[in-house]
């Protein structure tokens, strides 16, 4: 099951991943590993691009439709992939 909640300007996705976005910086925290990833520069741009291209609308506490939920799940995979790339470079 995929869910999302808005927490103080950040996102929490399930499977468990927590995202904070400040201007161009994207911070990702993965409780399963305890890793914190900073996606900046091109990675942050890719993150924002992915979010926009897939029309992910993170509004306030309102419901999210099924497509958006699937998109968020995809987003998570993308974020972890980007974070993994970041840690290797």
């Amino acid at each position: 099951m995929v869910r999302r909640r808005v927490m103080q300007g950040g996102w929490a996705l399930n499977p468990d991943i927590h995202v904070r976005v400040w201007d161009e910086d994207v911070l990702v925290y993965v409780p399963a590993t305890g890793d914190t990833h900073l996606l900046d520069g091109r990675l942050a741009h890719a993150f924002h691009g992915l979010a926009n291209r897939d029309a992910v609308q993170v509004r306030d506490q309102g419901d999210v439709d099924v497509d958006a939920l699937h998109t968020l799940a995809s987003l998570q995979v993308a974020v972890e992939s980007m974070a993994s790339c970041a840690s290797q470079t």
């Binding site: 103080q8 910086d25 900073l38």
Partner: protein, 307 residues
Amino acid sequence: MRVTDLTAGALRTRLAGPGLALRTGPFVTNVQSRVDAVIDGIALHYADHPVDDAGFVDFHVGVQRPRSLRRWFRPQVMFSIDGASPFNALPGDQGFALLEWGLNWCISAHCHQYLIAHAAVVERAGGALVMPAPSGSGKSTLCAALSLGGWRLLSDELAMFDPTTRGLVPLVRPVSLKNASIDVIRRFAPDATFSTPIHDTVKGTVAHVKPPLAAVLAASQQAKPRWIVSPRFEPGAGTALSPLSRGRALMMLADNAFNYSVHGLEGFELLAAVVESCECFELCYSDLQDAVNTLTTVCDRGIATCT
């Protein structure tokens, strides 16, 4: 009662016997020692600190000479906590420095009720300036100068974030200076109280500066994080204060934290809340007075904007 209320003989008797229950911020440490460097160091640097005979003791520590030939021949000292000695012995004249390093270890390794980062913290008008940085970056030098120049000292070494209040908990103790920074601070604040420099430690030459009385008296007052500044001393460089992104500021705090992983998601959310409440900068400097003036001006401007 404060340490200064004890006569020299009474202080020595306590330290040599049952121990001195010394309160530093939220912690009470029972210290036992017969080592002159430790006794003199406590009498000098902790004179204004409370003696807490009635409360719970967080740590029972000692700095003593080993029970071996090194008690007399090229004397050494050993740090102990609850009777165990976690570190190697050091030369006898390093007793007070060893006590300070040992206390830092006790807190950073055990006090997980706080998220603790390797950072200096000073306060002005209720706002805390946090300076996370690795050793050698000029953090303690800048912290000493600020705390001797109108800011309130919270700690030169350990920033303790309270997860409940998201405030910074003071841990007012002597400021540790190394090598060239000792003379820099002597010139900056000739009236400050210094210990005799100890040479050939693992960190080079080390001296401690007594914390200002006002900071000791305010040691129960938390401060709200307001500024995060990553300092970098660079010989010959002009003072440059440039914005630091919140993402990088959080990573800097996390990288310099001793127990970020212990706090898990709560730690991430705590640091995220901290950086969201702060203005974040990088500071490159070589002129200490100019750096102090720059920080004070920028922070006062921020305070004025909010009032």
